[in-house]
Symmetry: C2
Subunit: 419 residues, 2 copies
């Protein structure tokens, strides 16, 4: 049985089919899959390539060339303390990837009892994490690898549906964590409201070793003059009498060099001590020369902010182009996020269309993040969310690719509406 | 009851007491605890501090500043393939610490089923590792942290007592690994004989996922013109039909910069694939710029060898001084290793004296690696082995410190012999 089709829809489908045929003829080869900085962006930090130069002593006289210094270079920790809202004394500067630190925190929690916990997670019958959706696929992969059950929670304009979070964590002692990208979230650009931050910090949890994995990946990655602030989760947790609740992660991967940046872990004194104890069996210390290199290059928090304004100059026009093209072409059939920072735009297409749109785009040579990636187990139940990553390609390529994506959206949506 | 004391011993004790009193008066503050390069040694690689300079493209055109490249930079892997006896295609260049890689290999084996295994180690009732003694304390710490039982096996002049190793691994399916420092071993400088390597590769193991943790930390760290070779364990395992048996580790920590070097993992294709699968949930890739920096600096394997000769010029005299002072002062009461490479000298004192000697040295301001550190659970049953790490202090300090250690050995040994 087919639904009645009106003439207007039918004309729209015909137009989309023609546009898609023309798109195929272009034989594009464009990649919008990952949140990767462009060559121009990483070039902004090219001065790092010749640093530290003649210098190898830290401010406290430490020879950065030798072993030791598990906490990382103090002057670099000081620079990022304000950005990540963690006192420098509780902030560790470590390797080149915050994903590593999140992964290892989950691994360590399985191997070593957390502060406040009764046993190691590996000795629990069941471990679950709350996963605000849409969210970041690499968070979900960590859970999936270690058999941690993922419970989706819908994102709202204020962050995860906090009433639902409160209800779940209060009732279920198996829920040990929640993944959060609190500012300019991946993929929809949402910043958690102060109320959300406060309730996450104060809520009752059935688990006594519940942890908020606060992946502040886009802390300084503004796209507007507003420089949006997010509530201070560490302070809020401490005030609420839950000082050990938040693990805070950040990195310079999308500030300086994506492959050769510095990652940070911050938390309560007890959690930092726990992390250092776990790490002591693993390493004699992080690459302090890379820390020194970054400290010399960025200088201070204002230096970080000034550097991020240069990124905005490069990527702002790309985000604007995506939004403009969507606005021109998709107003009647899709919605999308309008991020004030971060690396992504979420495109919400008609239910049941996302997979097919991604497939059609791939056929036209436009690689998109696989539909479903924004959800645990790759399962977007409405098959609706497509993550757009506009930073890496050139502006001209973005324009071409997004026009192509819009064509695919119209084609698939009108096919569905007329079927 | 006291044993009869002859006059000679009594005079020796009196002399040692006087020397120790004079030693205390010097109020020394010297540290021989860790195998740490000196400032002069790390300075040999100061050119790295301004590299890669204007360069950021790898030989294959890859932009090293951006994400990706899980296996590490091909040109750096090629440089270390010969040194570590692993085909470049099976050698990964990763972070700044081989200890991390060993730790993570043990962790991953608990979380992910190894090639050839039937289940993850965490699902086994019991896991044990063979620990040749004397050995490296950080290996033992990894086992201890994860509840892996450690079974000591005595070292011989040819490596671990291989008949004992064969007997143990054939009988006990719980034995999943053995720690090996095959060349210039930590702490006694032994290089495994070809026969030992062959038998480790060919022996029958009750466990089907047994792994040799081949920590080739001193592969190019020669102290003589001989440049000792060790058998190719990976080839030997493959020939014996046990291709997945060996995990090979190495790093440039004691070649270039101790805090900012590059670590390597090499193994069979199946093991490398397994390692990359495990690592893929953890990281988007290692610091390729540090790889490029190292490749530009070291150039090729001959460059590595030439660089190591400069280290030998700096540390050879320190090792010579230790051996000379021991020879002058301890010939009648102790024995010690005569390493042809590596970072340590093992001092074997009379049974039951090591802890007391380390204590006496500490009182005199000379910090030694704690007695027992060379054995699992810090338990040297004969209380006999002291590890001497002569690289970090200046030659003058080494001479002063080792003369002090010799005094402590004589004091404690003669006290024991006359008690």
């Amino acid at each position: 049985m087919t639904a009645p089709v009106n003439a207007e829809l039918s004309a729209s489908l015909d137009a989309a089919r023609q546009d898609y045929a023309a798109l195929l003829d272009k034989k594009l080869k464009l990649d919008l899959t990952r949140g990767k900085p462009s060559a121009q962006q990483v070039s902004l930090a090219d001065a790092l390539l010749a640093l530290p130069g003649d210098e190898f002593k830290a401010a406290d006289g430490t020879d950065t060339r030798n072993y030791g210094g598990q906490q990382g270079l103090p002057e670099l920790r000081a620079i990022f303390a304000e950005a990540l809202q963690v006192p420098a004394s509780q902030l560790l500067a470590l390797g080149n990837s915050s994903l590593e630190l999140m992964h290892d925190a989950v691994v360590f929690a399985q191997m070593y009892q957390l502060p406040g916990g009764q046993r190691r997670w590996s000795n629990e019958e069941r471990i679950a994490f709350l996963c605000p959706v849409p969210g970041y696929d690499r968070h979900f992969t960590i859970c999936e690898r270690f058999g941690i059950e993922m419970i989706p929670v819908p994102m709202t304009a204020d962050g995860p549906d906090v009433a639902e979070v409160e209800r779940l964590v209060a009732a279920d002692p198996g829920i040990k964590g929640i993944w959060c990208v609190p500012k300019y979230s991946n993929p929809d650009g949402t910043t958690y409201s102060d109320e959300t931050v406060r309730r996450l910090a104060t809520m009752q949890t059935a688990a006594d070793d519940f942890r908020i994995f606060w992946d502040n990946a886009y802390a300084v990655h503004h796209l507007t003059d507003e420089e949006v602030q997010v509530g201070d989760i560490l302070a809020a947790c401490a005030e609420a009498g839950n000082p050990d609740r938040a693990f805070i992660f950040g990195s310079t991967s999308k500030i300086t060099l994506a492959g050769a940046g510095v990652a940070f872990f911050g938390s309560s004194e007890a959690n930092v001590k726990w992390m250092l104890h776990c790490a002591a069996a693993r390493t004699i210390g992080p690459d302090k020369i890379n820390h020194l290199r970054h400290a010399l290059f960025l200088k201070d928090y204002d230096g970080v902010r000034a550097h991020m304004r240069k990124h905005r100059e490069l990527i702002g026009p790309k985000f604007d182009a995506v939004l403009r093209i969507f606005d021109e072409q998709l107003k009647d059939i899709a919605t999308w996020s309008h991020p004030k920072g971060g690396y992504f735009i979420t495109l919400n297409v008609p239910d049941g269309c996302a997979k097919e749109i991604v497939r059609k785009a791939a056929e036209a040579g436009i690689a998109l993040t696989p539909a479903g990636s924004t959800h645990p187990y790759m399962d977007d139940p409405e098959d609706r969310v497509i993550r757009i990553a506009p930073t890496f390609p050139s502006l001209a390529d973005i324009e071409e690719a997004i026009a192509g994506v819009a064509t695919c959206v119209r084609l698939v949506a009108y096919q569905k509406l007329t079927s």
